[in-house]
């Protein structure tokens, strides 16, 4: 019987309730109760059922209910605090008993007989499993009754990694390393440019020779390479801005991206 608090030693035993007069446990007048031994109300019921000394299929459920209730009663008289599930089972069995004894209510489902049969089947199944467990552990068991070879050589699986790598992977890897680790050097190629200073001088000089508005491109050197012309244009534009700031020329543009005209301001 599982007791709350587990305050009892496992060897605890107590006498059967006075009303309980059936010899149990193979003729012993005392129903010994290992306090920690009962594994729930079903276990207790099964032990009580065994005392009827009949096949579980022929068991008297009413008698079993009486036994259980008497048992719980005795435990309470001894002020043993029973675990709740024992009391719940007692209440259910008391209900079953009254249902079995009182006049039938045909509408009730399941019927008390069916409930009794289910209880009997549960006890049978638990009993069968308990017996099966006992037979199982009594078998010739490996390491206890039969023994495997003490020193097997063992079987070995030699795992050989079959590496999936192709010549291409190898070469590509080398290319990758080469590209990654070669020293990076930036060399700026020499290019012809017109410096701002040159453009300023050139523009100042040429501006004096023009009377009317002249497009900025007309100030660039003739016959220069394209790259040099672009440099000269950029420098001349900056030079034009500088000269306009100094009040030495005027800049005119009729619309965005339209031609840029320059004209000297007479000093």
């Amino acid at each position: 019987m599982r007791l709350k608090g587990r305050g009892f030693s496992t060897g605890f035993a107590w006498g059967a309730p006075p009303s309980y007069d059936r010899p149990v446990d193979g003729g012993d007048d005392i129903l010994k109760i290992e306090v920690e031994g009962w594994e729930g109300p079903l276990d207790l019921l099964l032990a009580l059922a065994r005392t009827q000394k009949v096949d579980l299929r022929q068991i008297s459920i009413l008698e079993l209910v009486e036994q259980y209730l008497a048992y719980v009663h005795a435990a309470r008289e001894l002020r043993l605090e029973l675990a709740a599930d024992y009391l719940v089972m007692a209440a259910w069995l008391a209900y079953l008993k009254s249902a079995l004894l009182l006049p039938r209510n045909p509408a009730e489902s399941p019927s008390p007989e069916e409930l009794a049969l289910r209880l009997q089947l549960r006890l049978e199944r638990l009993s069968a499993m308990r017996e099966a467990g006992a037979r199982l552990v009594a078998r010739d068991r490996m390491g206890r009754d039969v023994f495997p070879r003490g020193a097997p050589e063992g079987l070995r699986v030699q795992r050989q990694a079959k590496w999936e790598v192709e010549i291409y992977d190898l070469i590509a890897a080398y290319g990758r390393i080469s590209a990654r680790t070669r020293p990076v050097m930036h060399v700026v190629a020499h290019r012809d440019v017109m410096t701002l200073e040159a453009a300023l001088e050139r523009l100042s000089t040429q501006l004096g020779t023009r009377i009317d508005w002249s497009v900025i491109e007309s100030f660039l050197p003739e016959g220069a390479s394209d790259l040099f012309r672009r440099s000269a244009l950029a420098s001349s534009f900056v030079a034009a801005l500088e000269l306009a700031r100094q009040g030495r020329l005027e800049i005119r543009q009729d619309a965005p991206f339209a031609p840029l005209y320059l004209k000297a301001i007479p000093q």
Partner: protein, 199 residues
Amino acid sequence: MIDAGDPVRAVEAVLFASEAPMSVDEIRAYVGPEVDIRAALAALGDFYAGRGIELVRRGDRWHFQTAADLAHLLRRDREDSRKLSRAGIETLAIIAYHEPVTRAEIEAIRGVQISKGTIDVLMEAGWVRPAGRREVPGRPLMYATTAGFLSHFGLASRRDLPGIEDLKAAGLLDPVDLALEQLDAAEAAAESEAVAEDE
């Protein structure tokens, strides 16, 4: 006199050297595809019958072991380190006879909750394994026995479980109907807690 030719010798040597029971396929991986392994096993089984060593089948695996009737010679100073608790034995029996079963079903049969450790001990011994989930609310884990269970208890298959045919015929191994087995609300509550624990 048995033919000690290559196939039988080969299978004998491989099984003898193996540290664990072997299936036919596993044996084949060592002795080669051309060997009739079942024939060799049959020859070996006949050959070793009644000797101090026996060829036994456990599940779909084969191994050599000492003859059971010689246990008294070998058991000395070997102590049974696997003493199972009563709860452990019953739980193992319930799993073996009903598999796959959930913890709630085991508890319904035993009429009591089982502690977390009980199934753990059985799994640690290599006798029980998780076997999927029951497709019911809560999807509780199910348990079943292993090849190690068969081998430890000397069973060729689950059909060899003692009395299983009689129990089946008596309807005692029918699926556990939890709804019917739940005789009272307290148990039902306890079980749903247990199911929750399994998650």
